[in-house]
Every structure is written in structure tokens, then in C-alpha cells.
């Protein structure tokens, strides 16, 4: 393990990714992520200034279709997958403040 990524960095990305880590997990993940980033350090030696990034494996063009309504999912079936619904909408806890 190196100092390629710090515990603070890992805590920050965990927060961005909406994951909560215990102190033990934070230590373990920091070491493991550093190992992977160390391996990826072999890319640093490459001179890639004149190389185009690949955006798609095969040459492709935009795929367009006529702007007409096609088959869609059934609303009741989709809502039935959700943990909580009300009036044909997904129900979530308050976004601002807290539920009583």
C-alpha cells in the first residue's frame, strides 16, 4: 500500500457514492484501492498526447427512429416494483427536513 489515495479521499468518494463505511472498512478499502491505483500507475509512463480516446469499440453512427409513440412499459407493473408508491407516484421520505 502506498499513499496514492488517502483515507480522507476514500471517505469523500464513499460519501459521493452514498455509501457509509465503518472505520475498519475505511482502512481496508483504502489499502485495496491503493493497490489497484498502484497497478494502474503503469499507464503514467505512456505518452498518449497524440492518441484519441476511444468512445466506442466499433465505428457507429447515430441511430434514429421516427418520432412516434411505440411500446411502453405498463405503469401499474412498473409501480408495483417500487418499495412505496402513492397516487401513481414513487413515494420517498422528505428530501428537505425529516419525517416526523
Amino acid at each position: 500500500m502506498t499513499d496514492r489515495i488517502s483515507k480522507e479521499d476514500v471517505a469523500h468518494v464513499a460519501d459521493l457514492a452514498r455509501l457509509t463505511l465503518t472505520d475498519e472498512e475505511l482502512d481496508a478499502f483504502t489499502g485495496q484501492l491503493a493497490d489497484v491505483l498502484d497497478h494502474a500507475a503503469d499507464l503514467e509512463a505512456l505518452d498518449l498526447a497524440d492518441v484519441e480516446p476511444m468512445t466506442h469499440p466499433l465505428p457507429m453512427r447515430n441511430v434514429l427512429r421516427p418520432d412516434v409513440v411505440g411500446e411502453t412499459s405498463d405503469r401499474a407493473e412498473v409501480l408495483a416494483c417500487a418499495p412505496s408508491v402513492e397516487d401513481e407516484q414513487f413515494r420517498v421520505p422528505p428530501v428537505l427536513g425529516e419525517s416526523p
Binding site: I5, D9, V10, V13, A14, L16, A17, R18, L19, T20, E25, F29, Q32, L33, D35, V36, L37, H39, A40, A41, D42, L43, E44, L46, L48, V51, E52, P53, M54, T55, H56, P57, L58, M60, V63, R65, S73, D74, E77, V78, A80, C81, A82, P83, S84, F90, V92, P93, P94, V95, L96, G97, E98, S99
Partner: protein, 501 residues
């Protein structure tokens, strides 16, 4: 072991279509095989015995009425549990999809059913297809049918094990960095990653969208060809789907390799730090001799940038995964862990729902895409993909096909690599370059290692090169030193009553 377990999908379908055997009988034989060993192997997250019986009876009724149910009539198939099945739980072996029943079928499922296949179950995988051993599942480890103390490989380990154990003659997997080919090699079966876009991804739960591809597992090369012909071809519901019908593979299977030029990729066949075990290299060299004996010209060749494949992959795949898996927020499907406000509910749900490997990759990807690091990691990795594509293009100017081991070693013991993720990732070193380039590649069983466990040889082809790739695979299958380890006997000229075409 019953005859059925040893029979190919092609033979089964032809017997069922002609009325010589009933789909129901064939199904019951396979369900009996599952009953006998599934408690030990744990290949399935879900066995759909009753549903399959209804489908098999319907196939038999159609045959009795003079109809043709299709090229896979009555053939039992298993689906990796990251492919959507309407009304049937689809878990990705993750707690976070607990209780979810997709409201639609994946395109591959529709096509299999339309061809007469009988879906018997959903197979175990590393959670969200992230892993190389099927040890990262929320529903327990899958064991290698050839030695239950060993891993089956991964992430499609359940599908590989199902085929190797004789539970089904065919199964579908998905391959993002080797997740079909590596378990195929470790379980001694055939596994194919098609050209990116050759098989629709509609209804495949996304891991890394620019790399993911669905493909077949089977005990014979011809059966994988048949399955790929059924599931391939354009699908308007997948915007990355290649236009046109599926390639015809069956009619070229026996064309041999006379006159073909085949290159061994030096960088993936050596004995360096990320090198290949001696017994695996020995089988590769025997495969070369077999291809030469069949009339191919084989030579070593360098594809230099493939050595950067692993590093680029473990940036690109986690980056795409971190974005794709943002959808699991406890709002629209699957698990919700309640909390007083929405943000805490999102975090509590994701923290409880994802396993460690998924969390690791989400964080790695989030980091690689975050401000200040994007160019150093993601941007650079996408450029490395261009280098790999260019190196492959140069190699394919000289060679029709390329060759390497599928995996650096035979199947390893359960638990051996779980503590060190980077060691686990090295399993994928030979398979990753084809995903980064969008090219097809397949693993063919070719003898065994010193431990008696199967070795796979990987045949790589340029985009849409499946017909030539399958010709070489067929030659390797016929020449394999120990025949087919997974079904306990030689397929060619077998004294054990194995039926084949």
C-alpha cells in the same frame, strides 16, 4: 449419469422436433441431475421446475400437432441471474434487488423462448458480475463440479457450473472482462464472448456498458454456434446493436483451418509477473501443434499494448459501474432501508444492499471520474483502448486469428484469493483486451493441468470474425488431448456412449 446429460443441444432438439423423445422427458432428466447435485454445487439462484414443465408440455403439444417449435425445441437452458425475466426474480446475486420482478424479458430470453428453449433457472454470479470466482454472491459460493473445493471461475460461474455438471446443455452468461471465457476454462466447457453489439444487451442489467456482452456456454463448439445464431442479430431496443442478422456459423463449422494464419500473443502467453502457469502454457503449445497439423500456419506475435489492458480495464469498468449503479437508490425497485430523509434512505439502502466488491468498484470508479483525476485515469484508459485497438488491427493485418491461454491457471481453491482483490483481478489479464477492443473471443477446453483440472485455450478474432473463430475452435475441440473433462469422457470417438453428431 444419464444419456441426456451427455447429449448435445443439437441432438436433443432434433430428437424432440422429430417426436423421437419428448421435451418433458428430457426436462425431467435434467431436473433429476439438478436434484442430485445442486445442494453441493449451488449453480442456481432459482430453479423454475414447475414453469419449465408447463413450457416443455407445450412444446410436446406443438410437435404432436405437426408444428416445429424451433431450433432449440425442448432444450433446457439456464440464464445468468442478471438477465431480466418477466415476473421472475432477477437478483444479480445482490441484496439490493431483493424482491424485484422485472416487468419485461431481456431480448435474449425472448429469442431463446421463441426458438423453443425451456428456461430451467437463473444462475448464480459474482454480485453485479463483478468478480472472477463467484465467491462475491449474496447467495453463497458456487462450487466447481469437477472439484467442489475449487471455484468455478466468474463472474458467470453458476452458468459454467450448470453446463459442466450436466444440469443443462446450454446456458447464457455475460462477459465484461472475461466473465464467460474464464469460468468456461475453469469448468472445462466452451464459452463465447461475441463481438460487441452482436447480441442485444436489452434486459441485461448493466455493469460496464461499453464492455458488457452476452454469450453462450455449452459442452460442444457446435452447440455454442447454434445458441449464438438464435440470440444474435439486430435489436432496435439496443442502440449499440450491430445492424443485420446473426452470422451463420453452423454452415462453416467444419471448414477447418487449412491455410489460416494464427498468431500467439506473446504478451499474454509468457511467464512474467502476470504470467501463465507452466501446465497452461504446455496445453497452449499442444493446441498450436494441433492447429498446425490441421493446416494452419502459427507464429508468435506481439500485441504490445495488451500489457496495459488490466490497468485500463480496472479504471474504465469501475467508472462505468459507478455511474450505472447510481440507479440503486431505494426509490423505484428492490431494497429500501427506511430513514427519516431521502438522502439517508439512499445511503442506508446502498450500504446494506451492496457487497464489498461492488462497493470497492463503485468507489474506485467514483474516484477515477472525480474532479482532478478524470484525465489521469479515465481519459488515459480510454486512450489505451485506442492503442489496443490499433495493435490488434496491425496483428490482424498479418494473422486471421490470435491465440492465448484463457486464464493464467486452472481453478484455484475456494477462499484463496478473496482477501486480495488485486490478485483476483489478475485472473482476467488474458481476456480483458478483447472486451476493451469490442472483439469476439472464445474459450475451448484443451486438456487438463497438473492438478487434473481443465485448461482453456482462447481463440481471438477481429470484430465480426466469429465464423473463422468457430472453425478454429472446432479443430481444437476435435484435437483436445483429454476430450471433454466436464462430462467425464472423450467427445470424439468416445467408448463411453457419448452421443454426438
Amino acid at each position: 449419469m444419464s444419456t441426456s446429460e451427455r447429449t448435445t443441444a443439437r441432438v436433443l432438439a432434433s430428437e424432440i422436433r422429430s417426436g423421437a423423445r419428448s421435451a418433458r422427458t428430457v426436462l425431467e432428466e435434467h431436473l433429476a441431475a439438478i436434484d442430485a447435485r445442486e445442494h453441493e454445487i449451488n449453480a442456481f439462484n432459482l430453479v423454475l421446475a414447475d414453469e419449465a414443465r408447463i413450457v416443455a408440455d407445450a412444446i410436446d403439444a406443438r410437435v404432436a400437432a405437426g408444428e416445429d417449435p424451433g431450433p432449440l425445441a425442448g432444450v433446457p437452458v439456464a440464464l445468468k441471474d442478471n438477465m431480466c425475466t418477466r415476473g421472475v426474480p432477477t437478483t444479480c446475486s445482490s441484496r439490493i434487488l431483493e424482491g424485484w420482478r422485472p416487468p419485461y424479458d431481456a431480448t435474449v430470453v425472448e429469442r431463446l423462448v421463441a426458438a423453443g428453449a425451456v428456461v430451467v433457472g437463473k444462475t448464480n454470479l459474482d454480485e453485479f458480475a463483478m468478480g472472477s470466482s463467484t465467491e462475491n454472491s449474496a447467495f453463497g459460493v458456487t462450487r466447481n463440479p469437477l472439484d467442489p473445493t475449487k471455484v468455478p471461475g466468474g463472474s458467470s460461474g453458476g452458468s459454467a457450473a450448470a453446463v459442466a455438471a450436466g444440469f443443462t446443455p446450454l446456458a447464457l452468461g455475460s462477459d465484461t472482462g472475461g466473465s464467460i471465457r474464464q469460468p468456461a476454462a475453469l469448468c472445462g466447457v466452451v464459452g463465447v464472448k461475441p463481438t460487441y453489439g452482436a447480441v442485444s444487451r436489452y434486459g441485461l442489467v448493466a455493469f460496464a456498458s461499453s464492455l458488457d456482452q452476452i454469450g453462450p456456454f455449452s459442452r460442444t463448439v457446435a452447440d455454442s454456434a447454434l445458441m449464438l445464431e438464435v440470440i444474435g442479430g439486430h435489436d432496435r431496443r439496443d442502440s449499440t446493436s450491430v445492424p443485420g442478422p446473426a452470422a451463420d456459423l453452423s454452415s462453416v463449422l467444419d471448414h477447418g483451418v487449412e491455410g489460416l494464419r494464427i498468431g500467439i500473443i506473446e504478451e499474454l502467453s509468457g511467464d512474467g509477473l502476470e504470467g501463465v502457469a507452466d501446465d497452461v502454457r504446455a496445453r497452449l503449445h499442444e493446441a498450436v501443434v494441433a492447429l498446425e497439423a490441421a493446416g494452419a500456419t502459427v507464429a508468435s506475435t506481439s500485441v504490445p499494448s495488451t500489457v496495459y489492458g488490466l490497468s485500463a480495464y480496472y479504471v474504465v469498468a469501475p467508472a462505468e459501474a459507478s455511474s450505472n449503479l447510481a440507479r440503486y437508490d431505494g426509490v423505484r425497485f428492490g431494497l429500501r432501508v427506511d430513514a427519516p430523509n431521502a438522502g439517508d434512505m439512499n445511503s442506508a439502502t446502498r450500504t446494506a444492499g451492496f457487497g464489498d466488491e461492488v462497493k470497492r468498484r463503485i468507489m474506485l470508479g467514483t474516484y477515477a471520474l472525480s474532479a482532478g483525476y478524470y484525465d489521469a485515469y479515465y481519459g488515459k484508459s480510454q486512450k489505451v483502448r485506442t492503442l489496443i485497438l490499433e495493435d490488434f488491427a496491425r496483428a490482424y493485418g498479418e494473422f486471421d486469428l490470435l491465440l492465448s491461454p484463457t486464464a493464467p491457471t486452472t481453478a484455484f481453491p475456494i477462499g484463496e484469493k478473496t482477501a486480495d482483490p488485486m490478485t483476483m483481478y489478475l485472473n482476467d489479464v488474458c481476456t480483458i483486451p478483447s472486451n476493451l477492443a469490442g472483439h469476439p473471443a472464445m474459450s475451448v477446453p484443451f486438456g487438463v493441468g497438473e492438478d487434473g483440472m481443465p485448461v482453456g485455450v482462447q481463440v481471438l478474432a477481429p470484430a465480426s470474425g466469429e465464423p473463422t473463430m468457430f472453425r478454429a475452435a472446432k479443430v481444437l475441440e476435435a484435437a483436445a488431448p483429454d476430450g471433454h473433462p466436464a462430462v467425464g469422457g472423450k467427445m470424439a470417438g468416445s467408448p463411453a456412449g457419448v452421443r454426438h453428431e
